[in-house]
Amino acid sequence: MGTHLHDTNSAAIAAELLLARRHAGSPAMGMVLTLVVDTDEAGADTALAAAREASTEHPARVIGVVRGRASGASNVDAEIMIGRGAQGETVLIRLSGAVAAHAESVVLPLLLPDSPVVIWWPGRAPDDPASDPLGALGRRRITDCAAVPACEPDPLLTQCAAFAPGNTDLSWTRLTVWRGLLAAALDGYPGTVSAAEVVAEPDSPSAELLRAWLTDRLNVRAARLESEGPGITSVRLVTAAGEISITRADGRLAVLTSPGQPDRPLALKRRETAELLAEELRRLDNDDVYEATIKRLSKLEGVGR
């Protein structure tokens, strides 16, 4: 699918993008940002599909970068996809040989003028995204700690240590619905919260972030308990009026319990990557609350710069 360019360079890719847009009949661009996806070959299709879906909400130029073997002759291949039901433009660039170590030189000329750049690592991210050559191009850098295999050193702590304004992580995005419901549940019970706990599967970066967020906001050390999952299974807050809890055993339907009220069911689905990405792209300035949460987590875990 799309137009293939072999052994090419940025100027040729840019020219092809312009041509493709002309052919599509609409020379004007309504695109609002550039999304660079730094991925491996195996994850490229899924990641670009999610990026394209997210770009229906935020028309974007999506640039997928796959770095192949560093040995052999230096080569740039590109595949250009425009139209086909997606907003904006998608380019998948494959680098091999010496150029694989200089992806930023290929991407820089392709960034849309004067508009925000977002870098997303759907899989393994650099230890310090902000000083990564590709990461440095973006004002927003999206990592995903949950995508890193569990056997490796805790990626969340790595990201905590390397935090720079503009960094954010999809395991934080996954929490938005939980956080919204908890905040709404607490609306009816003003006053201090005396205890809090988060129950989740053992390896869950989201649960760690939720614990840190609650600790930071409530001024009470939130406990972390383990369960079988999936994901976060319950959160409990103890208020003066009694206990508020949200329990979700199956990853889909949850129950809200609050003092003096009947138990209320609520749909609490784990969201798809495209939805998470679309939420990330909605705001492109630094996420202050995430920053506060990350700093709190660093303190709790004794890491940090």
Binding site: A28, D187, R283
Partner: protein
Amino acid sequence: MTNPPSNPLRDPQDRRLPRIAGPCGLVIFGVTGDLSRKKLMPAVYDLANRGLLPPGFALVGFARRDWENQDFAQIVHDAVKQYSRTPYREEVWQQLSEGFRFVPGDFSDDEAFDQLRQTIEDLERERGTNGNNAYYLSIPPRFFSGVVGQLKKHGLAEQADSWRRVVVEKPFGSDLKTARELDAVVSEVFPPESVFRIDHYLGKETVQNILAMRFANAMFEPIWNSHYVDHVQITMAEDIGIGGRAGYYDGIGAARDVIQNHLLQLMALIAMEEPISFEARHLRIEKQKVLEGVRLPQHLEHYTARGQYTEGWAGGVHVPGYTDEQDIPAASRTETFAAVRLEIGNARWANVPFYLRAGKRLGRRVTEVAVVFKRAPHLPFGETATESLGENALVIRVQPDEGITMRFGSKVPGTAMEIRDVSMDFAYGGSFVESSPEAYERLILDVLLGDPPLFPQREEVELSWQILDPIIEHWAENGSPQDYPAGTWGPSSADAMLARDGRAWRRP
């Protein structure tokens, strides 16, 4: 009010957190109607699906039908499956449908309202709605008085520890007098801040974007005045006829149906001064100033036009004329097309006419606001160079295909200097439209949150009638609407109206 500062989990910096309504229920009167099935029920589901309704949300239907709760749930289910914007998810449906109740009865039936109160109290206990309820009157205005009276009589309008809000749909009366009567009925029972008048146009993203475009940009506001603007055209064209709305439409007509509310609201948003903030109160003050400043043309016979469609071919389909539609009297003088020229008496808009037109069975379905600019004061080109250069225009397309078009002159490639109009288009995201919320979603959520900026207030409604009443009276006393064939852009008198000023309607 929705973010009490005492909640430590809330932080104004935390802009990811969705605005979730507090515990509450929604009672729909006239739940069997088209609006309810096609717009309200799907909007409720979409809100639930986006996680914006409170856990334990309750939906109560009230209508003269012999239904049980499960029959009602089935009706909502079908409506949701057919019309909702977001995908159907079983767990969302389950959660939502547990809160569905149906109360059968007449609007004059005391027993039914007793049962309604019982139902609401049960829901408070079973679902935890905290007694907060919004009453949506999706019923003809002649029943308002009855329903509102019943709500009061049965203690359903009292606001002790909980809130009770009432939602009314247009038409807000059919002239100033009836609008005041209608308002008296509602405000006798509900305080002004609990009355939400739905003008679904104001819930549309593009309409809200008018404010963003005007007040967040430095490049439009300096030219947004009579020094640079020649005139403004506001069009709301429908390609359909009156369909099944004969009973409502005949005797009302295009001016009352849409100019009084949608078009005057659009005009107010385009013309108003910058509000101090986007709070309801500040927005209202500015909109009100525009409406109060509106001046009618001296010669109504020259600067208003009305028409009625006759049979013809519209978009490749042969369609009947207005008087041939079902249930329309052959002698009906109701206008299906209306156009007026208005001016606003302030410094910003001195001598800038606002042309408003609305109609059914026109060329195509489109709603847009076109701000047409004056020509450049001097053109340093030969006469032939600028022959095909028109006036610059900024067009805000409200529906369908939401977006903004800018029209300006550009050199035609070639050796000679020749300048021609080009259009630059900003689509408000092509498929973005699908993922952006429906107007009713936004408005229902705002009602449940008690957030009033997007709802017109009583004063605005009355001022709009003050503008329209003399025109409608003039029409009533003078002749009949002029015929225009279905599928065209209205009667010739509308074109003559602009030609008199040396202008012409845009073809939208």
